[in-house]
């Protein structure tokens, strides 16, 4: 804290406030309208490690990876006005969709020039209103500390999300006294709703009466730190569970109640269980359409309990019998304390046959094909095998993402970082950068396609400069694979603009001083993965995979969650 008699600039007030909030890392890129802040940062380089990315989109995705590796500690992004600010728009939207706490500080022209179309002026408040949890323009130096404290509080509490501070140049250079105080509450904002007693009681009644209960959980488990409570809840109630994409590492993959991933490319059994259970208990998830398939046939037979910290999610997509507005950790503990111990062994095992069918028809051919071209699934499985399921898995978007999600194994929480709600290609590489910065001792493995890598490939420069041991597994199929799959299946194989001519990735890696290797044959896969994971240096492993692969199983668009394709022309039917 500063001596209040001494005046400091708004830029210094920002630095002090960041340090007081526990920030030690900033992802950013300088420019004219944020130069006074960068100048002050020079004096704080012993306390604030600034990571200079190669594009602002890289900064924000890195901050997302960083935040998600740290259980709720906001990622901080510093950019200039105008193009610097507009370059972070995609990442802000992504963070909003996936509830990632971020504080984005953008330079802005002086308050006196606002609205004049001054050089690099953009209406950042207007642009980010719909994609932030909160945004605020700092027009006076004396507001800096208040705004920063409020920003961190809002970003990291309740349902986390991105906050934008639009920092005018006059406020950066003007003088103010310093009295930093953390924000501990805001009158009009309730981030810690107390669940209604009556709702808890009703939920307990439904749980105790259920014969075929099923839990669907999502990212909210990790955000709330409710991993242990979830496992205990499933144990006590003898309840099977399925995870959304973003919830995947919240339970260890070998938890006996864990039935697999839900949704379009999820596992057969949990999707079938959704439409066969008599009680659906949704925790920290929001019934995304990729999870539900057609809503009109989703879990119609079941009573529904929905637990979420965001009341706007309850009843938004699926009508509920009991909605519980509260933090997953707290609510689950309340339920555990009150529910009767139970087991539903027969119900839990009733879809083992579906597991077997999926294994025989999808998983085995994907992970142990034995012949033909290498397949994405066997690449992911090889990494899972060599790392023992302990690597943090970062994915880009597309087939690589679905394969990484399906075939990775997790034994630690917060270990699958992916762009779920927005599905942002180019997310992976910078997110891996951020994750590695946050968890330098963790093995961090990115799965990415040739399309997605080229969207933010410039961040190889950041990896080079920061000497980050990010392991990049490029699954190269020479297509925009996911779109190609849809074209094959739903657009009469008319491959409009999805074939991709690729550069020489070995040369690119070489240019950044990053070790690399191409794998084209099955015999070479495991040794190459072993080599990649043998140290903590950056590595690009390019695997040439089957070009025209289909991610399966698949609930095609417009179908119910229990209408599942096992391959291009075969549907799952009654245990076959």
């Amino acid at each position: 804290m500063n001596d209040s008699s001494k005046k400091i600039t708004g830029s210094e007030a920002l630095m002090n406030a960041l340090v007081a909030e526990g920030v030690d890392t900033i992802f950013g890129y300088p420019g004219g309208a944020i130069m006074p802040v960068y100048d002050k940062l020079y004096d704080y380089s012993d306390r604030l490690h600034h990571i200079l990315v190669r594009h602002e989109q890289g900064a924000i995705h890195a901050a997302q990876g960083y935040a998600r590796a740290q259980k709720g500690k906001p990622g901080v992004v510093l950019v200039t006005s105008g193009p610097g600010a507009t370059n972070v728009i995609t990442g802000i939207t992504d963070a909003m969709m996936d509830s990632t706490p971020l504080v984005i500080i953008a330079g802005q022209v002086a308050a006196s020039a606002l609205g004049t179309d001054a050089f690099q002026e953009t209406d950042l408040l207007g642009l980010t209103m719909a994609i932030t949890k909160w945004n605020y323009q700092i027009r006076r130096p004396e507001d800096v500390e208040w705004a920063v404290a409020r920003a961190f509080y809002i970003a990291s509490t309740g349902r986390p999300g991105p906050v934008v501070l639009d920092f005018t140049k006059n406020a950066q250079v003007g003088l103010t006294e310093s009295h930093f105080e953390r924000c501990l509450s805001i009158d009009s904002y309730n981030p810690n709703p107390v669940p209604r007693e009556q709702s808890i009681e009703e939920a307990v009644k439904l749980i105790n009466a259920a014969r075929k209960p099923f839990v669907v959980y999502g990212h909210g488990i990790e955000l709330s730190g409710a991993e242990k409570e979830l496992a205990a809840f499933l144990d006590k109630g003898g309840i099977p569970a399925g995870s959304t994409l973003l919830g995947l590492s919240a339970l260890p993959s070998d938890n006996k109640h864990y039935k697999g991933m839900l949704g379009m490319h999820g596992n057969v059994a949990p999707n079938l269980m959704t439409n066969a259970c008599d009680l659906l208990i949704a925790v920290g998830m929001r019934f995304d359409d990729r999870v539900t398939g057609t809503v009109s046939t989703y879990a119609r037979q079941a009573k529904v309990i929905h637990i979420d910290i965001d009341t706007a999610e309850i009843g938004k997509i699926i009508p509920v019998n009991v909605g519980i507005w509260g933090d997953a950790k707290h609510v689950l503990q309340e339920l555990i304390d009150r529910m009767a111990p139970a087991s539903h062994d027969e119900w839990e095992a009733s879809f083992d046959n579906a597991d077997q069918v999926e294994y025989d028809k999808v998983i085995k051919p994907e992970t142990e094909p034995g012949e033909g071209y290498l397949r994405m699934g066997e690449v992911v499985a090889a990494v899972a095998k060599v790392s023992g399921g302990s690597a943090a898995v970062i994915t880009d978007v597309g087939q690589n993402q679905m394969m990484a999600a399906r075939y990775s194994r997790f034994n630690q929480t917060d270990s699958l970082i992916t762009s779920g709600g927005l599905g942002t290609m180019g997310f992976g590489l910078p997110a891996a950068v951020g994750y590695k910065v946050a968890q330098p001792d963790r093995q961090v493995c990115l799965f990415v396609g040739d399309g997605g890598l080229q969207m933010t490939m410039q961040e190889l420069g950041t990896i080079m400069q920061e000497k980050l041991g990010v392991k990049i597994v490029l699954m190269n199929n020479n297509w925009l694979g996911n779109v190609r799959q849809w074209q094959e299946m739903f657009f009469d194989a008319r491959y409009s603009q999805t074939r991709m001519l690729n550069p020489d990735y070995m040369a690119i890696a070489g240019a950044y001083g990053i070790k690399s290797r191409i794998v084209e044959s099955r015999e070479d896969l495991l040794p190459a993965v072993q080599e990649m994971l043998s140290d903590d240096k950056p590595y690009l492993l390019e695997v040439h995979v089957e070009e025209e692969e289909l991610v399966m199983p698949m609930v095609p668009p417009g179908k119910g969650i229990d209408e599942i394709m096992l391959n291009g022309n075969e549907w799952y039917e009654n245990g076959k």
Partner: protein, 108 residues
Amino acid sequence: MNGTRMENNETKLYTVIIYTQNQTGLLQQFTNIFTRHNLDIWSLFASPSAIPGCHKLTIETRATEQKIVLAVKQIEKKIEVIRTFFYADEDLLAERDNAGKLDIVDQD
């Protein structure tokens, strides 16, 4: 069981009253929410409220019940929003009519 999943398509004139702490730009945030739900704003009235530092916005719109509930929940999520209320004129009047407190039919 699951209640109805079919949207009840009947639209009504709703009045939404929002109490907020004053903050520049909130009005735009609310109109964004209405636009996203494809709701036309029929009237909009902003005023100070009886409580110091607390502003009151009254917005009228025609909507289905499902849509107005979604929109109001989104509005309530905004950090500076203190409370939001909404009602359909016809429901309110019908209620009062049933309670026999107001004769809205023939006044003359």
